[in-house]
Symmetry: C2
Subunit: 325 residues, 2 copies
Amino acid sequence: MTMRSGLDRWTDGFSEQLNTMLRFPLGWVNADGSPNHIPTGKRIRPILLLLCTQASGGDWKQALPAAAAVELLHNFSLVHDDIQDDSPTRHGRDTVWRIWGKPNAINIGDGLFAISYAALSELPQQGVSHEIVHQVMNIFNRTNLELIRGQYLDMAFERQELVSLEEYVSMIRGKSAALIAACAQIGALIGSGDSVCAAQYAEFGLNLGLAFQIRDDILGVWGDPSVTGKSTATDILARKKSLPILHGLHADARLLSFYRNSDMSAALVAEVITLLEQCGSLDYAKQQETEYYEKAINALHKTGSSGEGASILRNLARQLLGRSH
Amino acid sequence: MTMRSGLDRWTDGFSEQLNTMLRFPLGWVNADGSPNHIPTGKRIRPILLLLCTQASGGDWKQALPAAAAVELLHNFSLVHDDIQDDSPTRHGRDTVWRIWGKPNAINIGDGLFAISYAALSELPQQGVSHEIVHQVMNIFNRTNLELIRGQYLDMAFERQELVSLEEYVSMIRGKSAALIAACAQIGALIGSGDSVCAAQYAEFGLNLGLAFQIRDDILGVWGDPSVTGKSTATDILARKKSLPILHGLHADARLLSFYRNSDMSAALVAEVITLLEQCGSLDYAKQQETEYYEKAINALHKTGSSGEGASILRNLARQLLGRSH
């Protein structure tokens, strides 16, 4: 409940309406202000951060303000992302801009951004030293600039016909993996007070984040709608340029011409999927996912963390990537 | 040049295009990336901050990262504000969203916001203690939440026919005066290390900021176009609800019906101005401006600052408000 009471402290004196708007994207309330009990997110980032605090020898309770900060930051980026992408829904609900308009949604995102820093600034009250808080703040700042860089590239790529696989990985490194890396690094820094150890955790998080994003890319084409909650091949219908699709666009000129010209009928989507499989794009993406996953597990091993903490982190990584081994 | 080299450090690895977009609103470059030599802002906030560091007994050089932070924060808020208001120009140039579109402009604002925190985090390198940095960070966080609250109210007021004078002052306190207050407070905290003294400076800044905004409101109706750079009575044409106009709307029902119904012809604008003068709205606004100005000067007196530092601050306050006495 730290996050809720923290938010209350920083938004004291706000009108009821503004408070509802700030809490809606966190999934705590509905648009009319009534409590919402349906989960709207998996809270992967704060959980990962707290587990890394524990695995690196610390007490997860000390890291609670940082866990709140990364979840708030993630939600800030989603609120702005939904405006930028014109997305009408998220987690099965209308997006902030759909309900309150884009000008308000920009302001709400800014508010969550500011509150994420406000949360971080409460670390000293949990007994974290000013020196460590300063290092945490630096990681957080760097991460935010990585988010900006990734978001810029993502939007720029939409206007480019082709993007190299290296450029794509650089984009998801900023847009998706940097924050996962920061969660692991900040958690371990608070847990161990050791920046070298924390850098190993960052390596774990970065590779886990990359593997996680590539898995998402695979599910966007080959996912089971009953599991992903999206219709099959959403990413093809939306002409997204995810990793497997980019691989195919580079490998087979027919795919490029489909993406360039045609309306995406159901029959054509099936043909695109077949072509992608034939030119090895699914295999390529799976292999990339596995490589990053193995790098993540190796980095975790190198942290020197052992026992329960490390095994929970390994299980989390497996679960996130739907792996049985 | 601290601000430029600081920005370079944090945006190392960004593409040329993204770097241009981030530097454009600061007035350093034109949209094509070429250097811009025409001033785009008065830099009031960083100057005020550094003067308060000096006046409170410190060395302004120590406060440079904080001065950069408030200027970056101010520019972040302008970039987002221009999107929210659909404003096509600022400082005689196209706004960021007009040049690069709203999705990019949201991201650029977010980037400036993140870099403002990154700048603050460099205070320890200037020899400011972690304890003081922590207090500065708290002031900065509170200020950001005040900006969010003020911006929310400003947008909400646009959809309300009438707003009370108290509500209006509460809005400008958040949207305009809070950051001026923070500049004075942060500057004095770094200069003196004394939070009680810094709170007096905050009082000075807050009242100065309120007086400054009300003066701006007066100039929006009665300003000399050759001085303000805007056409006469812009605020009436745009149906703004600034302090003198709100006073008139409450005082004279004819004004309300003009605002409610008519096209604003030049003749009507003249009539609105006459009505505002007749019902004492100009006098009311002038008197409010003077009250806040005097509160500011009293607060400055109470800081105990004397000598050159205090007299420069008094002169700055006079200049900002166009006062000869």
